[in-house]
Symmetry: C2
Subunit: 314 residues, 2 copies
């Protein structure tokens, strides 16, 4: 008879975590306490939707737009949570205030959850809401923000809308992760995926824009309707720069004068090299720079801001 | 100044869990203790692979095949774990033995994990291995096993191989879950998805077979290479029934004499109604029945079994 190992009562987690505060089950918790069961279908079936807002210099930026998209995603996935938009906003606020973070990446999630019987019927699961605030992160580091990202256009096809609705922000990223490994093999920083027609789609966590003869294009179909993407449309309207959502073939991207990517995680970020060749002059372009400046200036505008009320220092 | 809520030290989880034992971080734990951080990319990017073996009447069935597929998936996803096959088999054995379950659903997982800095570069993450044993579950309940499942062929396209390699068993299920809701709306029990060419693909957790004039067909491309699917090929060879992996148009499926689905979760399960119409006679067919019987008989064959050594009752 072989000897069986001891059974432990509680899990001792050896992981280290970034600073941050999470909310789940009515409790505000250190980020390291925010865990989901391995039986949650949000994990086992990636059956979840989420959104990421950010706090910059002590204020949320365009939070309403993120809430709008999140609640729309819930409806499309037949999920319900016991909070309305104002209550979710309050929870997010509290996570950030308790964390003390002036610049923060604020994610809120609804998973399908689980049923106590581990039923395979998603209608029997109890949906679960989780939120957390951690330090602000960026797709591009400070050197890449300065000099521009090096992206590789990979042959990997972004999961098409016929399979998963890209307007429901979701965690289906294995195609994007595979793309990253292809890009790393080529010495690039990040990956750009194509759509089923071979046109440019999106990258890991960002939308893509190119500037040709002063006119801006970004892929129209099969991509996340990014809030930063929408902000770029708004900025272009303001600046009277033409900006159109349309098919973008890889050749158009590679021959563009400027290329940039957008994400809540980093804002507007220049791309100065695609595959082996420089984009335009090989340095971040003037239109990219003007849009980036305008993007951060918009953060001062009170109509886009929800100010965080931090606790007084003890 | 608004009042901020209290911060809790530890998460108090209101969930109830099925019986079962899990393994993670060198510890054997009650299943309710097996949780992953919301920062684990296995959750946030569904960046994970897994496999599910089953234990029937106190023995694993074809465990080697599941281990083979799991380790192949790890390699394709650039993941590493500090265990070899024999060690994983030992861990799975211990989970089942400690659980006392004679019939068990045994899942083992590798997630990308996280890096302490929450880096977005998957190469910086520490991959994480988790395993658990819970009671055996089935795609079909006992009534459905008897009378056959009612399936709906949905227009939803299974995530194509150009996006995610289906031979790497993965958690990208939102297309399958959407399919289930479409099926439920039509009064069906489960969903069948199509591939990008409009041919039959697979359903939520199962492969699909149809029998026409004594010959069996199952989709060839873009599907999981199921171990139960392979077992059906083996049984058919033994029984001298022709069984071919090929394109299966929906019309062929609907006009078939018999249809069945296969999964580790349930084995071989009859489908007797597709959309509004009965399949063949509307009752489970004789070939389906013979294959099902043979499938369970194979569980007695010592070459397919790894016996679990349960602890002596105290």
């Amino acid at each position: 008879m072989r000897e069986l190992p001891e059974l432990s009562v509680h899990h001792a987690d050896p992981s280290t975590f970034p600073p941050g505060i999470a909310y789940m089950d009515g409790q505000y918790l250190p980020i390291g306490e925010a865990k989901i069961s391995v039986l949650d279908y949000g994990f086992l079936h990636s059956d979840a939707t989420y959104d990421v807002a950010h706090v910059w210099k002590g204020a949320f930026f365009r939070l309403e737009d993120h809430l709008e998209r999140f609640f729309s995603g819930l409806e499309k996935l037949h999920m319900t949570i016991p909070y309305d938009r104002a209550q979710v906003a309050e929870i997010l606020h509290n996570c950030v205030a308790l964390s003390g973070l002036q610049n923060s990446y604020v994610e809120f999630i609804c998973t399908r959850g689980m049923s106590p019987t581990f039923s395979r019927d998603p209608r029997e699961a109890i949906n679960r809401f989780i939120a957390f605030a951690i330090p602000f992160g960026s797709v591009a580091n400070s050197e890449q923000m300065e000099q521009g990202l090096h992206a590789a256009v990979t042959p990997i096809v972004r999961i098409p809308p016929e399979s998963v609705d890209p307007t429901v922000k979701n965690y289906h990223w294995l195609d994007l992760v595979s793309g990253l490994y292809v890009a790393y093999d080529q010495g690039a920083d990040t990956a750009i995926l194509v759509d089923t027609s071979g046109n440019i789609s999106e990258g890991p966590g960002f939308n893509i824009f190119c500037v040709t003869d002063g006119k801006i294009s970004t892929p129209k179909l099969g991509v996340l309707k990014g809030i930063t993407r929408q902000t770029v449309f708004d900025i272009c309207r303001e600046m009277q720069i033409e900006c159109v959502a349309e098919d973008v073939p890889p050749t158009k991207l590679k021959r563009a004068d400027e290329v940039f990517v957008t994400s809540t995680a980093g804002g507007v970020m220049p791309v100065t090299k695609i595959d082996a060749a420089p984009v335009g002059s090989g340095s971040p372009g003037s239109i990219t720079r003007r849009i980036t400046e305008s993007y951060w200036r918009m953060h001062e505008d009170t109509q886009n801001r929800m100010v965080v009320e931090y606790p007084a220092m003890a």
